[in-house]
Amino acid sequence: MSVFNQSRSYIIRILFLLVFITILAQLFNLQVLSGKYEKLAQDNAVLRNVVYPARGIIFDREGKAILNNTIMYDLMVTPSQVKNVDTAYLCHLLEIDTAQFRQRMIEAILRNGRYRPSSFEELLTPSKYARLQENQWRFEANGFYLQPRPIRVYPFNAAAHVMGYVGEVDSTIIARSGGFYQPGDYVGRSGLEAFYERVLMGQRGVQFLIKDHKNRLVGSYEKGEFDTPAIAGRSLHTYMDIEVQQLAEKLMANKVGAVVAIEPETGGIISMVSGPNYNPNNLTGSEKKKNYSKLVLDVAGPLLNRAIAGTYPPGSTFKPIGALIALDEGIITPFYGYGCPGRYYGCGHGKPACTHAGGGHAANLRLAIANSCNSYFAHIYRLSVDSEKFKNVKHGYAKWRDYVHDFGLGVTLGIDLPGEFRPNKIREGIPDTTTYNRVYRNSWNSCTNLTLGIGQDMMVATPLQLANAMCLIANKGYFYTPHFVKRIEGEKTTDTIIKKFRTKHAVLTRIDNAAFESVISGMQDVVEIGTARVAKLPGINVCAKTGTAENFRIIDGRRVQLKDNSVFVCFAPRENPKIAIAVIVENAGFGATWAGPIAALMMEKYLNDTLRPESVKKVEYISSANLMPGWLIREQYKADSVRGQFYFKLTKDSSYIKKFIRKAQPPPKKDTSAPRPRLVFLFIGETIRQEDILRTNKKTNT
């Protein structure tokens, strides 16, 4: 019976077999050959949650926290739980309208889905937080809750440039870190926050969590087997004196310039201010982005730390250094004198001029420093580079430049802050012989760059370098690389980051004590009877040097000489130096007018711990003075208009023009404080100047 069509039973069996083989082949393909599904499954179900530890705290020398952590709150929302919410009331509390409310809800859903919480408003302002806290019961059951979030806080509102700020990592940081940082991580972006990032950040913890198909977290993965705990960041103890810092910041209000104060004994930085300054707390919290863009767009550059990155001609403050070089070379002795007739005629043209004439004001080194004799120091510069020890002036200059480098000028000192001055083609600090060869087509001699001896010509230095040079003099021959951090909490041998700050740099070894004493005495005379009398402190022997440096700037395409920079360096007390200060106030005139008093007040505060009543008055006077250069307003206006125009072109939206040009400021006229004549820089300090100008003007007229 069943013989009929029985062969078909085999066909059916073969059909079964073929189908099963096909399925098995696909299973083999999915489960054995293709590796991607495991990764996909991990991505599906395992959430890698990074746990951020609290960052380390930064203390000043007395243990006061300059940079601390605090808690702010994010308003979080779980969209799926939002039911029966009094939207209008919530909007009222948050000062938003219902359209914005809806927009934010949509954003939250897009970011994390309906079932997982995402932030509705980040970093609530204290007033909003208080309002929400009060009404928490209204919203708690409906998907809204407040989540604490640690942020940085600067309790003294001070030391913005030193402390730096944290910000989200950008793509370059991620690329450079080799995967250490991930998008969304916060990292120190400047200051100590950036330099000691690895110390302050601690160790990030990682939690692996399981999520379900609706993105809800349902528990830990493999019972936390792969989790690593977060370790809090370590704190830093610095040399800073926050009270001196606050005072210095107050004094530098509305001024462009910088202040650096160093403890010579250790190289520890007591205070560092760059003007214009900003409140570091503006770069934390809810207003962060707005404030940051404001700072970035300010042409005065408040984010720039001029103390380490600003370069200024040191002017007369360089003179003691020039003297020490000549002494170390053995070219002069402390008793070397120069008969200055009021001008230096060594090069024939009678330049530079000197404030004093005759009277033996440069009869020896001490007197020369006290009187700040230009001729004397130009002359010993020439003596140094033209010494018979060297084949020619180029060798002599190279040797002299090495000396200056040893003083920390024209080099990167290696302070524990990012963004320090680094010599480059445009800003060399102390120019190389090749630069002079290029500029003067290989034919130059010690007369060409004569004014290097008095801290001018192409020489520039940062305030930090000047302060460091003062330490070298105060210490009589050695310095420690300036730095902020005294010790890291729980310091380990692996913390090599601060090792280099503990090595002594003994650069001047051949100068005997007496020679040093004569330089230092000269500097003390500057305070006692010379230009720096303003820095005199009762009961303390202060040594100082003022400087008044010419400076130029290209404004509207023309090189214009601006008002001189006020430069001041000092250290005190003479016998046992505790503090060395360099102050530069841009376009503020004589060194003794603004920079001197600032340094004096800081010394008084630091050494005596208090200020005398008359000093307090002086503080008020200085801090209320506005020395912001006039050209800044015009430059700001120009920059804003260009930016406004750029966005207008880009978007065809004319509101951008209004947005960028600040309404309060009418278009300022051309800066009147800058000297008018165009060619003035060619004829420095000459009486024939007026005639020359007239002559050139006539030529152009006819």
Binding site: I12, F20, Q31, Q42
Partner: protein, 445 residues
């Protein structure tokens, strides 16, 4: 043969019993793995009748009792009442229309009390019995077209009713009975034509309509060219070729769009298209075919299969172990205790596990075919082939859809998927076969 032994065990095929027990054990374990939540007390929740695995466990006990009863029943009972079963099945199917309770898009479930019943599922037994009864009629000449049509009608009528209940997947199962008819002498041309039509439908999904029409025309022209001598002799050959060409173009141009836009539901069309990695072009209003270049792709059809593939693929060679699969444990795969239960096994036990499971199934199918061939009675043989066909269709389509080889058709994996009706139906199907087989020496009519 083993008449000396007890009444039930005499003649009962032990291999089938063992395979059955093995499969239901795997089934309950898999449902447990898919739905168990950490921290639940295992033993107490197994008897609580609250969790899915507990319910399945109780259904299994009922199924075993039912199976025992079937083994105790006289085998003649099934031949005698085969037509009655069919009638009962049809009545139940029709009862669905007034009494169904709408659940998740299907209209095929009757609910009384806390109990759900799906007649379309159960009706497979009826059709299997009725078809066997019809084919085993002594005076039947199956080579006649009339009897072939009647046999086809027996299978297709319930299928059509099931389609009306929006259970296209279950309806397709009834087409598997053509395998029985094939075994009993249905001319292979019918199957070949059916297969060709299937190829045409797939081709018209995959290939752009105009291109396909041109290809068909070119093929027709080549065929005419090659057969030009025969055509010169016989005009009818040309007519046949032109007719076939017209039929193909007709299917491609009118039948497929009509089926996709009017007969099938939107989600089913999407599933079919997503299988081939294409967008559903019939999303326009009123079923007008719209080329969907700028219509946003609806990923829901895709999602299930993708998650299912991820789950199975992530199992790797050796699997993650019972209760360790992240995909199946945290509900990434939808319907994973019912239609996508295979994922749980794929993720938990890897390629080894899936191979073993498919091996067990293949063994079951081969054993059933072997049993079918050893029957003396045509009724038993037809019935056995019916069982084999139904199991084969269920296994092949269910597993294929989880690995992305077939469109997502909601049909359960025999003995393993969660669901009382399905488990009972498959048990009844298998145990009737075992009962019939134990009396294989008898000639049943």
């Amino acid at each position: 043969m083993n008449g000396e032994k007890g009444k039930i065990s005499s003649g009962v095929d032990p291999i089938l019993i063992w395979l059955y027990l093995l499969l239901v054990f795997i089934g309950v374990t898999a449902i447990f793995a898919a739905t168990y939540r950490d921290g639940d007390p295992v033993v107490s929740s197994f008897v609580s009748f609250k969790t899915d695995y507990s319910k399945q466990f109780f259904f299994l006990i009922i199924a075993l009792v039912l199976g025992t009863f079937i083994l105790l029943t006289d085998s003649k009972f099934f031949t005698a009442t085969a037509n009655l079963w069919y009638a009962a099945g049809m009545v139940l199917l029709f009862l669905v229309f007034p009494f169904h309770s709408p659940i998740k898009g299907t209209e095929s479930i009757i609910r009384f009390g806390g109990f759900q019943f799906q007649p379309a599922e159960f009706c497979k037994v009826s059709v299997c019995l009725a078809l066997a009864k019809y084919l085993s009629m002594p005076d039947l000449d199956f080579s006649k077209q009339r009897s072939q049509l009647i046999a086809a009608a027996i299978a297709i009528v319930p299928a059509l009713i099931t389609i009306l209940q929006k259970e296209t997947g279950l309806a397709l199962v009834y087409f598997s009975f053509f395998l029985v008819m094939y075994r009993e002498g249905l001319p292979p041309t019918i199957l070949i034509i059916g297969f060709s039509i299937a190829v045409m439908i797939i081709a018209s999904i995959v290939i752009e309509p105009n291109t396909l029409a041109i290809i068909l025309t070119i093929i027709a022209a080549i065929v005419i060219f090659l057969n030009r001598r025969q055509i010169r002799k016989r005009r009818s050959a040309l007519v046949t070729i032109v007719f076939v060409w017209l039929l193909c173009v007709g299917i491609q141009r009118f039948a497929v769009p009509f089926i996709f836009s009017s007969v099938l539901q939107k989600h089913q069309v999407e599933r079919i298209y997503s299988l081939f990695g294409k967008d559903n072009p019939y999303t326009g209003a009123g079923g007008i075919a719209v080329q969907s270049t700028n219509i946003k792709k609806d990923n829901t059809a895709d999602y299930n299969v993708r998650q299912s593939k991820i789950a199975i693929g992530s199992g790797g060679f050796a699997g993650k172990g019972l209760l360790s699969g992240t995909q199946t444990r945290y509900d990434f795969v939808p319907e994973q205790r019912t239609d996508f239960i295979f994922c749980t096994i794929g993720e938990g036990f890897g390629f080894i596990g899936t191979t073993i499971l498919l091996g067990i199934y293949l063994l079951l199918l081969f054993r059933i075919v072997m049993i079918a061939e050893r029957q003396r009675s045509v009724f038993s043989r037809c019935y056995a082939y019916g069982v084999a066909a139904v199991f084969f269709f269920h296994i092949a389509i269910n597993v294929s859809m989880t690995v992305g080889l077939a469109p997502v058709i909601g049909i359960p994996l025999p003995f393993i998927s969660y669901g009382g009706t399905a488990l009972l139906t498959f048990t009844i199907l298998l145990f009737i076969l075992i009962r019939l087989d134990s009396d294989r020496q008898m000639v049943l009519r």
